[in-house]
């Protein structure tokens, strides 16, 4: 009886979705954003941000992998010997990534082709590993799960912002390749603003720099600049 009472007490102390949980979910979007503040996970995804649609797919995949690897690692955290923890974590991550990859291949083959090796590279995405080490190894499964989702979303937010800028300026479209493709500006009548007939935008041409890999780096550099100007606490963090 006493045991049950104690359990109830603990559950009362930790609500299912309280302010702490909300903080876990929302903080990574801004204050501790994995890309602009923690410098985690810049690696695998910049190359695919030239279009919005694959970026969204990538963001969802990373969120799923981070959340579930956090969850499973947290479940077994007390049974992992310290010396081999990296291997154990990598096996968990690699299994999840394999599932995500095969799922994506079955559901949406063109996008799978476009993302090619970058889906596999989620394994070595520093966010996944970083959050496992920093959070899941010391916290309960449910919170770790939320932490994973939060960080995945923080990463996805930057990815989508970069992709929107790059796609609009570089190709003049939005969500190209998806069912809801919007053609914004271009040189024939299928676009919303047709540069061949428009008197105001006749001068406009797509910026080819935006399609190149270098553009992603410039945009993220500028995003970091803006982020740190708004929030001076982050200056000189690294």
């Amino acid at each position: 009886m006493a045991e049950i009472l104690e359990k109830v007490k603990i559950e009362e102390k930790e609500p299912f979705f309280g302010p702490k949980e909300k903080k876990l979910l929302l903080d990574p979007l801004m204050d501790i954003n994995p890309i602009t503040v923690q410098i985690l996970g810049v690696c695998s995804a910049l190359a695919i941000t030239s279009l919005v649609y694959p970026s969204i797919v990538m963001a969802i995949s990373v969120t799923l992998v981070t959340a579930f690897s956090n969850f499973f690692t947290s479940l077994v955290r007390e049974y992992i010997p310290k010396q081999v923890r990296m291997i154990v974590q990598l096996v968990i991550i690699a299994t999840l990534v394999t599932i995500v990859e095969l799922g994506l291949k079955a559901l949406n083959f063109p996008i799978w082709k476009q993302l090619s090796v970058y889906i596999g590279l989620i394994i070595t995405n520093c966010i996944v590993m970083g959050r496992l080490e920093a959070y899941a190894m010391a916290n309960k499964p449910w919170r770790s799960f939320l932490d994973g989702i939060g960080n995945g979303l923080g990463y996805g937010a930057i990815l989508v912002i970069v992709a929107i800028i790059r796609e609009i300026l570089g190709k003049g479209t939005l969500f190209a390749g998806s069912p809801v493709e919007i053609k914004i500006i271009g040189n024939n009548a299928t676009y919303l603003i047709d540069t061949t007939t428009s008197t105001m935008f006749g001068w406009y041409a797509n910026n080819n720099l935006m399609v190149l890999p270098a553009a992603a780096l410039f945009i993220i550099g500028i995003l970091i600049w803006i982020h740190r100007t708004i929030n001076p606490k982050l200056v000189d963090i690294s």
């Binding site: 990296m86 990598l90 070595t124 520093c126 190149l212 890999p213 270098a214 410039f218 100007t229």
Partner: protein, 202 residues
């Protein structure tokens, strides 16, 4: 030999791992604060890439493929096996470095074990598979990719050492500037696209 040189030059300069595929950005940004540590990490990456590539090639060819040892299509195990090989080799490199150069070992610190999760290593292996290279070419791909990575990180470290004395806006100091510098370097490396690697072998 011709193929070897061809692939080496192509992966080192024209299709540089960092500047055109963003592989290994995390350690690239974090370790590029001084030239000395950048040199050490760069060499470690060349070494690990040069060994893991042929290893993973052999595993893929003789164990995982349908024509391999087990006679089944085991390619779904690719990620797990590759990462296991990489983790084991990095452990090995760590032990060797600790034995022969303790100062380098201390300087590299946490980043040596983190080579395991350096995207350049796994990314190289996955690219090698998706491009269907043969054994010689995959060795060249590994060494060339590692050399390109080495060049990029040493160059960035040298620039960052100099830029410490410049008057950069406070919010842009450190990380922001590193991104923009990498972007500029990427544009400079793009001019190497004009190189025709086949010309070297004639």
């Amino acid at each position: 030999m011709g193929d070897f040189l061809n692939v080496f030059i192509k992966t080192a300069f024209v299709e540089n791992m960092i500047l055109s595929y963003f592989l290994g950005m995390c350690s690239y940004l974090a370790v590029s604060k001084s030239v000395k540590t950048a040199l050490g990490l760069g060499i470690a990456v060349i070494f690990v890439l040069g060994i893991t590539m042929p290893m993973n090639w052999l595993i893929n060819e003789y164990l995982l493929k349908e024509t391999g040892f087990f006679g089944m299509d085991l390619t779904f195990l690719r990620f797990i096996l590759f990462i296991a090989v990489i983790a084991a080799l990095v452990q090995l490199v760590e032990m060797v470095v600790e034995k022969f150069s303790p100062s380098l070992y201390n300087a590299l610190g946490i980043f040596l074990p983190l080579i395991t999760v350096n995207c350049a290593i796994l990314g190289g292996s996955l690219f090698m598979i998706s491009r269907e290279l043969d054994l010689t070419k995959s060795v060249a791909f590994g060494l060339g990719g590692g050399f390109g990575w080495f060049l990029a990180i040493v160059a960035l470290a040298a620039i960052r050492e100099k830029i410490q004395y410049s008057n950069v806006p406070p919010a842009l100091r450190g990380l922001g500037m590193a991104f923009i510098l990498t972007g500029l370097m990427g544009m400079a490396f793009m001019s190497l696209m004009g190189i025709d690697p086949a010309a070297f072998t004639k």
